[in-house]
């Protein structure tokens, strides 16, 4: 339990990007990505401009590019989908490196890859330069319903507590000789998850009682 409660993606810094108002950053991210998604995928030079914009912001933020690049692995599953695209799409065939692939499919794969990668990089930049509490503040300023912001707040606050609880339960399981390797061990894992649900639910009840005892009342009353 002694581990830091810092956010996994956050990169500490004092750059202009770190200091920018969180609601401005959220609007900029969503607006930028909507424009990227709406751009026809054969406007090749425009995507170079988008990439340059993202890279300039990353540069300004002083977050090392390698720090973000390592976290790009999150997009691997859909890279596989994009790579399959030229082979499953229909349309006129073109020859690339001795393989017959669909021309429109190839273009679609390019579109998926470039838009998806820009999206992940831009989102990573937000996550790396904005503390979770500031993201919540930004959402609140953007008029996200108060209760949703509160639920998100509880989730963020207890994320490390609950995932750590799960980690300890799995360590306890392994230290007693059960190392799950195949579907035969699913019942043991499922019981762990069931116990985690009961513990999380009861923790929620205790948190609620603690809040009431400190004078909590929902704002709408």
């Amino acid at each position: 339990m002694g581990a830091g409660h810092g956010h996994r993606l956050h990169f500490h810094g004092h750059s202009p990007v770190h200091r920018a108002q969180p609601h401005h950053k959220l609007i900029a991210l969503v607006g930028f990505m909507l424009v990227v998604v709406a751009t026809p995928r054969d406007f090749y030079p425009v995507f170079a401009v988008y990439a340059a914009m993202v890279l300039v912001v990353i540069r300004l933020s002083t977050v090392p590019l390698g720090y973000l690049a390592k976290r790009l692995v999150i997009e691997v599953p859909f890279v596989v989908f994009a790579v399959l695209m030229p082979f499953v799409a229909h349309g006129p065939q073109v020859e690339v490196l001795g393989l017959n692939v669909s021309g429109p499919g190839l273009l679609a794969a390019w579109g998926l890859l470039v838009k998806g990668t820009l999206g992940v990089l831009a989102s990573l930049t937000l996550a790396a330069t904005t503390e979770p509490a500031d993201v919540l503040l930004g959402l609140r300023r953007l008029r996200m319903p108060e209760l949703i912001v509160q639920i998100m707040g509880f989730m963020i606050r207890y994320l490390d507590v609950v995932t750590d609880e799960l980690r300890r339960m799995l360590i306890a399981m392994r230290s007693r000789g059960c190392d799950p390797r195949s579907p035969r061990h699913w019942p043991a894992l499922a019981r762990t998850l069931g116990a985690l649900f009961i513990r999380s639910y009861e923790r929620g009840e205790r948190v609620h009682l603690a809040m009431i005892s400190r004078g909590y009342a929902t704002r709408s009353r």
Binding site: R8, M155, S182, Y201
Partner: protein, 232 residues
């Protein structure tokens, strides 16, 4: 796996965003009715549980593993409104703080995983409950069937969205068949895990399982004679 940016075109993304916002508004109202001023801490902790549950790897064999989507599990454990709310919040946090799922695809992801998957699971759960005997032991079975239905349902709706606003020319029937058949297989894994988890919770704390409430309400109170009590 979450839908990234650029998978669906901008109009479709905006339309699914509107659907997601409306669904969250309804869920918020329903959850407040069920949980009252416990909504924030309870939904928050359940969302955290769903997030942690999705992190848990279930080994499939040959070094690969899968993880739970969690829609059916959440709906059986906490009920439809709270489940929609919790899974939406998980998806928002994943998109904004972990870059998992595109920000423009957030509405699509909420619609697929929080609305369609949870809705399909709840419908199927209630249907199966009508057929099976009204016993606590039927709840995990119904939960499993609900989970098996929820995954292909989300995949089917994704395919339909892709045909409307997709960005690659893929044959409609091929896509639908491939998506649904592959997700039927994934759904079987989801079903097994969901049934096992619900079974373990129902055994220890049946009162916490929303899907077991009707069954529990019908269960007659047993009078257990105390030591020394005269049983007439």
């Amino acid at each position: 796996m979450h839908v990234p940016d650029g998978f669906l075109d901008a109009p479709t993304s905006l339309a699914t965003g509107a659907v997601a916002a409306a669904a969250m508004a309804v869920a918020l109202r329903g959850a407040r009715r069920e949980l009252d001023d416990r909504t924030a801490p309870m939904a928050g902790l359940v969302a955290t549980f769903v997030f942690a549950g999705q992190m848990m790897n279930f080994p499939v064999g040959a070094g690969t593993s899968g993880h739970l989507m969690g829609g059916a599990l959440a709906v059986v454990l906490v009920g439809p409104y709270t489940a929609v709310l919790c899974i939406s919040v998980v998806l928002i946090v994943q998109a904004l703080l972990l870059a998992d799922g595109g920000v423009t695809a957030l509405g699509t992801n909420i619609m697929l995983m929080a609305v369609v998957a949870v809705g399909a699971a709840w419908l199927m759960f209630r249907l199966v409950q009508l057929v099976l005997p009204r016993k606590v032991s039927s709840v995990p079975v119904a939960a499993g069937v609900a989970a098996a239905a929820s995954v292909p349902a989300a995949a089917a709706v994704f395919s339909v969205l892709y045909l409307i606003g997709g960005t690659a020319p893929i044959d409609a029937s091929t896509l639908l068949a491939a998506m649904v058949s592959w997700h039927v297989v994934i759904g079987l894994g989801e079903a097994a895990i969901t049934a096992l988890v619900v079974a373990s919770v129902v055994r220890a704390r049946p009162d916490l399982v929303h899907g077991a409430q009707r069954v529990l309400a019908e269960r007659p109170l047993l009078h257990l004679p105390q030591p020394g009590e005269v049983v007439r």
